[in-house]
Symmetry: C2
Subunit: 338 residues, 2 copies
């Protein structure tokens, strides 16, 4: 099938970019030094490619993502990098032979894990981002509590995502190191072999005690991450059709804010400034000087680049793997929901 | 079932508010004077309540929405208020006995409708919002073209959504009237009995020649529309669980930007300022003076009010109809996708 035959809006994954992204991560963070975060793509087809690239484990954010990986035979070592207060579905998955380690950051979370049938945990440590995670000085106490409840404590995790908005790597690097020092001190108190941190922005940081990076966006990429100057290519785009062109100088595509995550702002349509998005429309203007004719016609196909990959993919039922104008495969987005 | 037993995040619809909203619309715009827009809720269960409230027709934005209404026996008079360049699925639906009228705004769109098996159209007229719609002076010519292709032209539609950001009704009213004058002139050229316009913001405007209003948000409501001072109640909320509380003064719920449309900004959590949303988290702070203890504990349930109802619902598999703490019904969000 040709890309032009796809009904729009449609999510496209450009194979050459995807393969380059997989190769770059496997080169810098081979094997278990990267634990790909499937929340960025919610697709077991793509997760399988990440495993084939050498990464044996996965990170997930929801119970549904863990269940889907298990159903697809990909749950050899899954880290649920999130706190859950009802862990019974994870317990059932573990009883069924899946390996899922759960993040805990409070006494209530430890009790929920133990009560739900979870066997392994990491201590989630706050390293500066005001989100989940205990204080570094409380990590050892929580680990002891978890062990007293019969849980194996594999180590610690911490997410320095508040530093990813700093675009200049030379400014970001010392602050990342400082945040990771907090994680190191917690790891010393907790014990275990896992120190899990970071993401796409910090995949190449050389911090010896961090054993694995939870990178998700790298594989598909978005325009927000692209501002950091990372060597990953924009593999994901939303294909749309121009359904209307105004003689007053704008054109309207059939992708809108129901097919694009908007928390990081508007999508980018190369060559055409985006004016605004509605539910099922994006209005774009002319890239040329004022008054020049609009270089788009009704029926033209355009590709929009999402500002944030994770919520964009979660809005779609499928990803289409393409090689320029040719459609290669359809991948269900099979890890949606909770 | 009790609301506290629902797995979170979960979308709740408060029955008393929903019923009040349905009643208010049926009072001011009874029968076919309102054509409810199902894009706001994407649920045939809720659409059925709107029909039971007296509104015989529906507005949709996608082919999938039209197909779902037809499958549910609700396609007696559906207006696809959007331009489609491949109308074959609509043609199949019409051949199967559904009544779907399609918006057209160009020669290409007219040809697509005729070629796809569509039988009835309205001329989509631009009344100021830079989106779809022909110029008012081109509407008559397009109607003649449509009729020459064997299409019945039922009238015109135009959406004055660019005026809905004006919060003061006394300032908004004359501009809405001006936009509707454009639609009236197009209607005179086009003929037919339908003049379809507006939305929740203008449901109560008394413009004699507008025969029907395409109101969607009124039935569930969001915080953006609430700023307009409309007499509709916030029936929709996202139920979350507090999964983490920091001694430094913030708490984290398990609803985030994958369960909330973010194009109109952050959700509102009554009593707790929202700091930011991540994929599966919302961090909230203390509503009390600086330094006072945070009035939230791990395990507490909180309700977030979405800033934009349409994309929020589209992210969920179901709506839960509730009466305060009691769960009454589960409604599948069965009109998602394209």
């Amino acid at each position: 099938m040709r890309v032009d035959e796809l009904q729009t809006p449609a999510l496209l994954v450009e194979r050459s970019h995807l393969e380059a992204n997989l190769a770059e991560m496997a080169r810098v963070r081979p094997g278990d030094r990267c634990r790909p975060h499937v929340k960025a793509h919610k697709s077991t087809s793509l997760a399988r490619l990440q495993r084939d690239a050498g990464h044996p484990g996965f990170t997930v954010a929801t119970i549904r993502e863990a269940e889907g990986l298990h159903a697809a035979g990909l749950a050899d070592d899954v880290l649920l990098a999130n706190v859950v207060l009802d862990a019974r579905r994870i317990g059932a998955l573990v009883a069924d032979g899946g390996r899922v380690t759960v993040a805990v950051d409070s006494e209530v979370a430890v009790a929920a894990a133990a009560d739900g049938g979870v066997r392994e945990v990491v201590i989630d440590v706050c390293v500066g981002l005001p989100r989940t995670g205990c204080r570094p000085e409380d990590a050892g106490r929580l680990a002891a509590l978890a062990r007293s409840r019969g849980l194996a404590v594999r180590g610690v995790m911490g997410y320095e995502g508040h530093l990813f908005i700093i675009e200049d790597a030379s400014q970001r690097r010392p602050l990342v190191r400082e945040a990771m020092q907090l994680l190191a001190s917690a790891a010393a108190d907790v014990g275990g072999e896992v120190v899990s941190a970071g993401g796409t922005a910090t995949y190449a940081e050389d911090i010896p005690w961090v054993t694995e990076v939870q990178a998700g966006s790298y594989v598909l990429m978005d325009t927000a991450y692209q501002r950091l100057g990372l060597p990953f290519a924009q593999a994901l785009s939303v294909l749309g059709t121009v359904i209307s062109v105004s003689p007053q100088g704008w054109a309207v595509t059939d992708f809108g804010l129901k097919s694009l995550g908007m928390d990081h702002g508007n999508p980018t349509v190369p060559g055409h400034p985006v004016w605004f998005c509605s539910d099922e429309h994006t209005t774009v203007g002319n890239s040329l000087e004022q008054g020049a004719p609009l270089a788009l016609a009704v029926g033209d196909r355009v590709r929009g680049l999402p500002a944030h990959v994770d919520p964009t993919v979660a809005m779609h039922e499928q990803l289409w793997l393409v090689d320029r104008d040719e459609v290669l495969e359809r991948w269900p987005v099979d890890l949606r929901g909770w």
